[in-house]
């Protein structure tokens, strides 16, 4: 078992996903199965290898630092579950 129940709970908390005890039990099996399977990568020596960052050598193009978009608050808020005037409404965070 690569991951135990406590780890599943900690990861779910980090990922902000509520899970039930039954789900935690199932996920312990599934995540362990997947992580045991990817552990075969330990067999490759990558000490002298650079991580891949791009397909073909190209420099990322930068654009001018100027305002290109904006003044569309209605569009930005259009799909929000709860709004008040031009604000997103969230549960109280600070007492």
């Amino acid at each position: 078992m690569s991951v135990d129940r406590a780890t599943v709970r900690r990861i779910a908390r980090l990922a902000r996903i509520a899970i039930t005890e039954a789900e935690a039990e199932r996920l312990e099996q599934e995540l362990s199965g997947i992580l045991d399977w990817v552990a075969q990568l330990d067999g490759i020596d990558t000490s002298a290898v650079e991580p891949m960052t791009r397909v073909a050598a190209m420099t990322m193009q930068k654009r001018k630092d100027e305002v290109t978009d904006g003044f569309c608050a209605d569009d930005v808020l259009k799909n929000a579950p709860k709004v008040d005037d031009h604000y997103f409404v969230v549960p109280k965070i600070v007492e």
Partner: protein, 495 residues
């Protein structure tokens, strides 16, 4: 006369120019096919008939004025991962089931600018995570193909299962799709359609719901190599809004289709001969080799020694990037919100209710491999393995112009047959995922039928930004394989 829905895009283009039929008639024929088929196939999750007819009417006016674009009046289906302005876009997830974008993805904007008509939004695996279209919030799509003497429901592949099923069942002339580990090529293979994932950077990712940003690429599914070439030419573009999109001219792919394979060398990677490979897949692959040889290509065995590490490293990179991309679904700015006693429990409840089991599994894997102390052992390691996979291909492409492999380890399986074990499902992508890891272009072409009477595909892999060679080579296979039988229409109900 051939039914309008049976026409290729190339023939429909001629027919529209010659005024043999109107753009409205062509669109209407497809809308009727969708209405008759959708209850059985579930390929479209949101048909948009009014918009389609309005777009077709506008096409008619432009055709009349001699101003028709490259896809003028051609009715297409759009995978629900592409944001479409004022048309609901959900990625087939509960968390986005009421999301209506206020903007248009670059790829679809290119299609509309060329005159294409949108028939509606197509089903896919939730957030494109799946190989069978069974993880969709809107339920599975059914493959129009059935096994000989059986009416068991088969999967259309995934994640672009709505796209592949709709194109195969003649509900649209072509469809957009996306491919992160095989999601264009695998569904194309098991539905007898053509699918191409272009080189990473060829199509803009702007406005496409993100899954794994270093792997995701858009491409078309169509019924012929020529049609796929016509669609890709329009979909591809340099886009300043996607910094990974490449600033290279887009070639006239259609002009490459009939160039033949004389003088080309095609590589056969020995590592793809995996243990336990089905004899019919092996035989099909050999047939592909013979066809190419007979048409004047040279065949050469090549070695891609890191092939077996592609899938396990993919299942680090893809979930890691997904967990980061999907962090945006928090119930605040858009999408579903479930109440909670405080802001954290609101996030947790929202994401618990909004994501399906496979999406949660991948977010959790991704969160784990990116969590403190594990980054080097997993994500960095996997990115290094990617360099090795890429290096294998670079070496092979010094000697060959394209590589031929099977697309999938087997034909379409039945709904529910492989959904029990995640790793078994992941193995479907064994031949396609290397291509995403290396960022290369890959194309699946129908090459024959399985013993069960369902389609099988062969895959061609090319050098970066050399999609033209893939079209050339696959056209030779398409021609040698001959026209694939059409799936028997069991799905249409009388109007």
């Amino acid at each position: 006369m051939t039914k309008l829905t049976d026409l290729s895009i190339a023939d429909a283009r001629e027919g529209l120019r010659a005024k043999s039929f109107s753009a409205s008639e062509l669109t209407q024929a497809h809308l009727e096919a969708i209405a008759a088929a959708n209850a059985a196939l579930n390929a479209f999750i949101l048909p948009t008939p009014e918009r389609a007819l309005a777009m077709a009417k506008a096409s008619e006016a432009r055709l009349k004025a001699g101003e028709g674009g490259a896809l003028e009046g051609i009715p297409l289906g759009i995978k629900d991962l592409f944001c479409t302005k004022d048309v609901r876009t959900t990625a087939c997830s509960h968390i986005l089931h009421r999301f209506t974008p206020t903007y248009e993805s670059t790829v679809t904007a290119n299609l509309w600018a060329a005159g294409a008509v949108m028939l509606g939004k197509l089903n896919n695996d939730e957030f494109a995570m799946g190989s069978s279209n069974e993880t969709s919030f809107y339920g599975p799509v059914v493959n129009p193909w059935q096994r000989k003497g059986s009416n068991a429901k088969l999967v259309p592949g995934g994640s672009s299962g709505g796209s592949s099923a709709a194109v195969a069942a003649r509900l649209c002339m072509g469809a957009t799709a996306t491919d992160t580990g095989g999601s264009i090529r695998q569904p194309a293979a098991v539905t007898g359609t053509v699918g191409i994932k272009p080189t990473y950077g060829r199509c803009s990712r702007w406005g496409i719901v993100a899954f794994a940003s270093s792997l995701d690429q858009a491409g078309p599914i169509a019924r012929s190599i020529r049609d796929a070439a016509i669609l890709l030419k329009v979909m591809a573009s340099h886009d300043p809004k996607d910094t990974t999109s490449v600033d290279l001219p887009v070639p006239d792919y259609e002009a490459a289709v009939e160039r033949g394979v004389k003088g080309l060398t095609i590589g056969i990677p020995k590592e793809y001969r995996v243990p336990g490979m089905a004899p019919e897949i092996e035989a099909l692959w050999q047939k592909g080799v013979e066809w190419l040889k007979a048409s004047g290509a040279k065949i050469k065995e090549v070695s891609l020694p890191h092939t077996k590490y592609a899938l396990p490293s993919y299942y680090i990179v893809a979930p890691a990037e997904a967990s980061s991309n999907l962090a945006r679904y928090d119930g605040v700015r858009y999408g579903l919100r479930q109440p909670g006693s405080d802001v954290i429990s609101m996030y947790e409840n929202t994401r618990e209710a909004g994501f399906g089991a496979e999406v949660k599994r991948r977010i959790l894997i991704g969160t784990y491999v990116l969590s403190a102390g594990y980054y080097d052992a997993y994500y960095l390691k996997a990115q290094k393995v990617r360099s090795l996979i890429k290096r294998d291909f670079d070496t092979a492409f010094e000697e060959v112009d394209a590589i031929l492999t099977p697309t999938t380890p087997g034909p379409a399986f039945a709904v529910g047959e492989k959904s029990g074990d995640p790793v078994e499902m992941y193995l479907n992508d064994i031949f396609t995922v290397t291509v995403n890891m290396a960022g290369l272009p890959g194309l699946s072409v129908p090459a024959g039928l399985s013993l069960e009477g369902t389609p099988l595909g062969l895959q061609l892999i090319g050098r970066p930004f050399d999609e033209e060679t893939l079209f050339r080579v696959s056209r030779v296979i398409e021609e040698a394989a001959g026209p694939l039988a059409k799936p028997q229409d069991w799905w249409s109900k009388a109007a």
